[in-house]
């Protein structure tokens, strides 16, 4: 007799978090009173009941093998009853009830090559996208730049000696799967050339009306090839290389090994503490791709961090520091060249012009 098909299970949603909570967390849920830092990457929360939960935070490359995840599971079982979590910036956090286990856990993490830190006024892990590991539209790699930058900023992760927290994020193209646009420092992959249209295949793989509608500047219009195939043409001076057309049509290739590269943006924030959330602003329009270690990007980021660390006052985020000293001084202190590319020419450009005679001279 044929086997009965197994009933297919769908739409069960995520597992309820409740089953994954440390007993101390479960007991004191919603009853936390205060927290205190103990060392970079280590802090405790105390509840109204007097119970404490200790957290040890370690950085990770985000791209993890099952071997390493099992290592984390081993460490969690050895030191904290198997309870752990990850943070919104891809750090792993071990949740301990016994403070005596903090130092042995830190040693084991160190021996495995995973640094403890990323709290308070440090540079936490870099949020980033897939790059050449998995993405078709990336203008640069993601993981390799993050690794190179974090190697250079390692001490800024393991120490809390900056004026305020500093958040770095990387997206490998303007689609910004990592939504980097409100970071203290954003590393953003950019294309700089119009799409190369594959006229032979376009009519087979794309819906032309959708493709025409996808262009934010109306640069794409229907056309025909000499031999009568339906295709499109691009008014190149109207193209701003956003790649939205490539997202809806694979026959609009943008990737370009010579002209793709990286831009650097500064001064954004999401938190409302002190000043309101704001976008990052352009600091460096273009740095060529230079794998495997991207020295141009690493030097640029380290320079901005160092100048900020030296000049900002306590609690000033990057953007708040620039508010105080002004953009001219930012460019002067960092030695970054200000060019015509820094002046906005897209929608609402005028809102970023200096419409006042208040000038620091």
């Amino acid at each position: 007799m044929a086997e009965q098909p197994v009933k297919r299970v769908t739409d069960i949603g995520p597992p309820n978090f409740d089953q994954f909570l440390h007993p101390i967390i479960k007991k004191n849920y919603g009853q936390w009173k205060f927290h205190e830092s103990m060392a970079p990457g280590v802090y405790f929360h105390e509840a109204e009941s007097g119970d404490r939960i200790y957290t040890v935070r370690a950085g990770s490359p985000r791209l993890l093998s099952t071997e390493t995840i099992r290592k984390f599971a081993d460490l969690a079982e050895k030191y904290c009853g198997g309870y752990l979590r990850f943070t919104s910036r891809n750090n792993v956090e071990f949740l301990l009830d016994n403070p005596d286990n903090i130092e042995p856990l830190k040693k084991d993490l160190h021996d495995y090559g995973y640094p403890v830190g990323g709290t308070n006024n440090s540079i936490s892990n870099i949020v980033h996208t897939q790059g050449w590991v998995h993405c078709h539209s990336s203008a640069t790699d993601a993981s390799g730049i993050v690794k190179s930058v974090m190697d250079a900023l390692y001490d800024r992760f393991t120490h809390e000696d900056l004026p305020a927290k500093l958040r770095i994020a990387l997206a490998c193209c303007l689609n910004m799967c990592g939504a980097v646009h409100c970071s203290d420092i954003a590393i953003l992959g950019v294309h700089r050339t119009p799409p190369r249209i594959q006229h032979d295949s376009l009519h087979k793989v794309c819906e032309i009306p959708n493709l025409v509608a996808s262009c934010p500047t109306g640069a794409i219009r229907p056309a025909e090839t000499a031999d009568g195939k339906k295709t499109v043409e691009v008014i190149e001076e109207q193209c701003m290389f956003c790649a939205n057309c490539f997202s809806v049509c694979p026959a609009m290739q943008l990737n370009d090994p010579v002209n793709d590269g990286i831009s650097i943006w500064v001064g954004g924030k999401v938190s409302d503490a002190r000043s309101q959330p704001r976008f990052s602003k352009l600091a460096i329009p273009f740095i060529p791709n230079d794998p495997p270690r991207w020295p141009g990007v690493v030097d640029a980021v380290v320079n901005i961090v160092d100048v900020y660390a030296k000049n900002a006052k306590k609690y000033e985020r990057m953007g708040e520091w620039i508010d105080r000293i002004g953009w001219p001084r930012f460019f002067q202190l960092t030695g970054i060249e200000f060019t015509k590319y820094h002046i906005d020419d897209f929608r609402f450009a005028g809102t970023t012009f200096a419409r006042s005679a208040q000038v620091r001279l």
Binding site: R62, S65, T66, F86, T87, K147, M176, P250
Partner: protein
């Protein structure tokens, strides 16, 4: 078994230095997985040629779902047949990214059996990312995931996997239960999450206070930010303790207050709570002395997105305050009305924030049945081009 181990001269440079290396992780995977070996080979080629070798998209998935799987094919399958297909599954994370070691081992076992054995913990939106498998393995992986209590997350023009901060599980500042709200909303909208029917993506993010640890205000169509309505809870003895330990309360706290609503006379901190905008700075600096008030809830903001297509947007205030106990019902009713209007009027790949820009906030508010309130703007308009409804015939 695996093809010959690939040469990775350039990638090997990324095993140097103190920060943990993703190349080391890929090599750990490649010990048992030919997929990882192929991935290393193709990535080395990208490093040599400075270009991606993945082809555009490809519609693959599991039966009955329109999202949750990202199709990916190599453009050099002859060189690296092990990554000819390299599809990714997005698995919906538990609220707050909490796990037990057993839960992690379960995911590892499934992924070692059915895929590459490499992951992202986690993806940008919040999902567990299982990187790289073949079309044939998608359905068996899904069956094992659901058998073990996990389900796929969103992709494409659907509700994307909601995410939240650690909330009341381990934070004294969470003004509502972000973890439960995120979990319950995700379960409420399973159909919208798994079957794309919108003009484009829709993201929910839940932060317990204005510090916004999940970047809701920058990254989600509906940003739910915890706040309070009454006075900051103040412990004068602890304020004095901070001062005694060397905190300069005037410089470090009062001078940074955005509305200058605090006064320090050297002994007592006086807060004019009616002028407080709940920014969190003073509470961040003195967590033992100051705490959010007791009348808690959330501010609802709408419309954030990254630059594609019409430019990046931050969310803006839609409902200034919703009491914590009314949040679930309010959110459900609100998105019901917003989705109706968006689905009728949104263009292909137009996020809600862009729709609001295009039709005007006033028209959007009319459409969803919300009254305009001054908390929605930083200032009233400064141009006189107002389209008013007038009495009588035009």
């Amino acid at each position: 078994m695996a093809d010959e181990k690939v040469q990775t001269k350039l990638l090997d440079e990324l095993e140097k230095g103190p920060w943990p290396s993703f190349v080391t992780e890929l090599k750990r995977g490649a010990k048992t997985s030919p997929v990882c070996n192929g991935l290393l080979g193709q990535l080395e080629l990208s490093y040599e040629e400075k270009i991606s070798h993945w082809k555009h998209g490809g519609i693959v998935g599991v039966m009955g779902y329109g999202g949750g799987v990202i199709g990916r094919y190599s453009d050099v399958p002859d060189k690296f047949p092990d990554v000819a297909h390299f599809h990714t599954l997005r698995v919906n994370q538990p609220s707050g990214w909490f796990y037990t070691s057993n839960a992690l081992r379960t995911i590892c076992d499934i992924w070692d059996k059915h895929g590459s054995g490499v992951t992202n913990m986690h993806g940008s939106t919040g999902d567990i990312i299982l990187l790289g498998t073949t079309t044939d393995e998608l359905e068996p992986t899904f069956a094992e995931l659901t058998k073990n209590g996990f389900d796929l997350g969103g992709s494409g023009s659907d509700v994307r996997t909601p995410s939240c901060c650690v909330g009341q599980a381990r934070c004294e500042w969470a003004c509502y239960d972000t973890m439960k709200m995120c979990n319950d909303i995700t379960h409420e909208f399973q159909d919208e999450l798994h079957r794309p029917a919108f003009p484009y993506k829709f993201k929910f993010k839940f932060s317990g206070c204005a510090n916004d640890c999940v970047c809701a205000k920058a990254r989600s169509d509906l940003s739910i930010i915890g706040t309070w309505k009454d006075d900051i809870q103040q412990d004068d003895a602890e304020v004095a303790n901070y001062a005694a330990k060397g905190l300069d309360i005037q410089a470090d706290v009062c001078d940074h207050c955005p509305t200058k609503c605090m006064k320090w006379d050297g002994k007592k901190l006086a807060i004019n709570n009616r002028e407080c905008v709940h920014c969190m700075h003073c509470i961040n600096v003195m967590p033992k002395a100051l705490r959010p008030g007791k009348e808690r809830g959330a501010t609802l903001l709408m419309g954030a997105k990254a630059p594609i297509v019409q430019g990046a947007l931050l969310s803006s205030v839609l409902v200034p305050f919703v009491p914590a106990e009314e949040l679930m019902d309010t959110i459900k009713e609100l998105v019901d009305r917003v989705w109706d209007f968006w689905c009728d009027n949104g263009k292909n790949r137009e996020r809600v924030g862009e729709l609001i820009q295009r039709v005007g906030m006033g028209n959007f508010l009319d459409a969803i049945g919300l009254d305009a309130v001054p908390e929605m703007v930083s200032a009233p308009r400064d141009n006189p081009f107002v389209f008013m409804e007038i009495d009588g015939d035009k």
